[in-house]
């Protein structure tokens, strides 16, 4: 049952991620990306990390993708191929993407294969164990990143004001 679910989610995630890249209408891209986010959330649930799954959906599907959708609608981007870029930019984008992929493949090749524990036995993804790690071991980085968020918020407000 779990294995079938895993394969189903994998295929759906890969399909929607692929469609994000090749679909031409901006709104379809946004919706496929949302679908991909939901698939990743499903993977977290299979790994018994319910908290991560729900936070993933709240943050990505509920906030960031809604903002994307909002922008697409406000600018009313409905036409295909509205973003024709010059050939030089296209080649540069391809090269940059290729370099990123080589880096990722290289990193993945170097890492040791970790034997996964049975996710139903670990409690690592549950909220209480996550909170213990965050507020004991990594308290300082956690607080520093919250300051970073605050400064980003203040910056966004300042940019939005433009008086």
């Amino acid at each position: 049952m779990k294995v079938y679910l895993f394969y189903f989610l994998c295929i759906l995630a890969l399909y929607s991620a692929f469609m994000v890249v090749i679909s031409k209408k901006p709104i379809h891209t946004v919706l496929y990306l949302t679908l991909a986010m939901f698939c990743l959330g499903g993977h977290y649930v299979l790994l018994n990390a319910q908290f991560l799954a729900v936070v993933h959906i709240i943050v990505y599907a509920g906030a960031i993708m809604v903002l994307f959708l909002f922008t697409v609608m406000l600018l009313n981007l409905n036409k295909e191929g509205e973003f024709q870029k010059p050939a030089l930019v296209q080649v540069a984008a391809m090269a940059a993407g290729g370099i990123l992929m080589i880096t990722l493949v290289g990193v993945l090749k170097q890492t040791d294969v970790v034997m996964a524990k049975d996710p139903t036995m670990t409690q690592i993804g549950l909220v209480s164990s996550l909170a213990k790690v965050l507020y004991h071991e990594y308290l300082l980085p956690f607080e520093v990143s919250s300051v970073l968020f605050l400064s980003a918020m203040v910056g966004a407000v300042l940019l939005g004001k433009k008086d």
Binding site: I27, Q50, I57
Partner: protein, 341 residues
């Protein structure tokens, strides 16, 4: 056991779906009857005794209406919009504890479809996804009024989600758990959260009104400015889905308010009743539905009493009043918890 478990959960989900749909159906009648009462009219009374068959007649009418698809609308998204709205509206009921457990033949059956330990966050996730149906539908209709309604809906729901989340955090801080079942059980007797979190409750109620797009926050479908808002171009059962989802949302919000702030299926002096566990559970379910009915009435009461906000007033209320108030409530709760422990 596994097989039996799945069968039981499937039965429970179907039962809850049926009950939600039935209640949503009769809320439409209740809404019209109450509106009539507030406006000194009679309300629908032709179909069946006291108009009891009116929702059925409405449903049949919607099914038989012409299916209209606007020209140059995006077909797939146009159909996806109402379907998503309906799906998301029904999803939340999975984590609401409808009652304590039933014991049959020594097996204990919980009256909750999924007791996940992050129930509140699940509700929050579903609420935050709820905006998709409206946005997609409004955008796919290819109509300026619908688009305006969709954008209003999106900005309103995003704004009020924040205050709603902040007011829930105070409850979570008090009870120390994210599981709705545990939060309800901590309020056994008359130990309701509303006594400790009156401000949080008011913020949550206002945000729930805004999230369900009901008056005085019904700007997304404000008919004096936007014809019909995001569902202007919809007809037949697709329109029915949008309207129906609103009533399901109302029912679910009333259930969540009852669970988070008013003790859910617990009621005062329940430990003194000389009845068996199962009967107590059934009484608890009835009590929960009584509370839900009361909050459903409050929702309708507010709709037919208050005029609609202006758009800038809506945004001001959300960002400049409710969010600071919710943060203040959170800080105070933190201080009090620190002092007491």
């Amino acid at each position: 056991m596994e097989y039996q478990f799945i069968l039981y959960k499937a039965t429970l989900s179907i039962a809850i779906l049926t009950v939600s749909l039935l209640i949503a159906m009769y809320s439409t009648l209740a809404e019209r009857k109450l509106a009539a009462f507030f406006q000194d009219r009679l309300g629908p009374d032709r179909a069946g005794p006291f108009g009891l068959l009116q929702p059925l007649a409405d449903g049949i009418k919607l099914f038989y209406k012409e299916e209209f698809m606007p020209a140059s609308a995006n077909k797939f998204l146009y159909i996806l919009g109402p379907s998503l709205t309906m799906l998301v509206a029904l999803l939340t009921s999975a984590v609401i504890p409808w009652g304590n457990s039933l014991i049959i033949n020594g097996h204990e059956f919980s009256l909750q479809v999924a007791d996940i330990n992050i129930g509140i966050l699940y509700v929050f996730a579903v609420v935050s996804v709820g905006v998709y149906g409206i946005m997609i539908g409004g955008w796919a209709s290819n109509n300026k009024y619908a688009l305006l309604g969709a954008i209003r809906a999106a900005s309103q729901m995003i704004s009020y989600e924040l205050a709603m989340g902040l007011s829930i955090i105070a409850v979570v801080m008090m009870s120390g758990t994210l599981s709705i079942q545990k939060i309800v059980d901590q309020q056994a007797g008359f130990n309701w959260n509303v006594w400790y979190q009156p401000l949080g409750f008011v913020i949550f109620l206002v945000c729930a009104l805004a999230e369900t797009n009901r008056a005085p926050f019904d700007l997304p479908e404000c008919e004096t400015e936007l014809v019909g808002g995001y569902h202007t171009e919809y007809s037949s059962m697709k329109l029915g889905f949008y309207l129906f989802a609103e009533y399901i949302n109302m029912f679910i919000s009333a259930a969540i308010i009852s669970c988070l702030y008013f003790g859910g299926y617990h009621f005062p002096f329940e430990s003194m009743l000389p009845v068996s566990h199962n009967i107590l559970t059934i009484i608890g379910v009835l009590i929960l539905f009584l509370k839900i009915t009361f909050f459903g009435f409050v929702f309708m009461w507010i709709r037919w009493t208050l005029p609609r906000f202006r758009y800038d007033q809506l945004m001001k209320l959300g960002w400049k009043k409710l969010i600071p108030l919710a943060i203040f409530n959170m800080v105070i709760t933190g201080f009090v918890i620190r002092l007491l422990h």
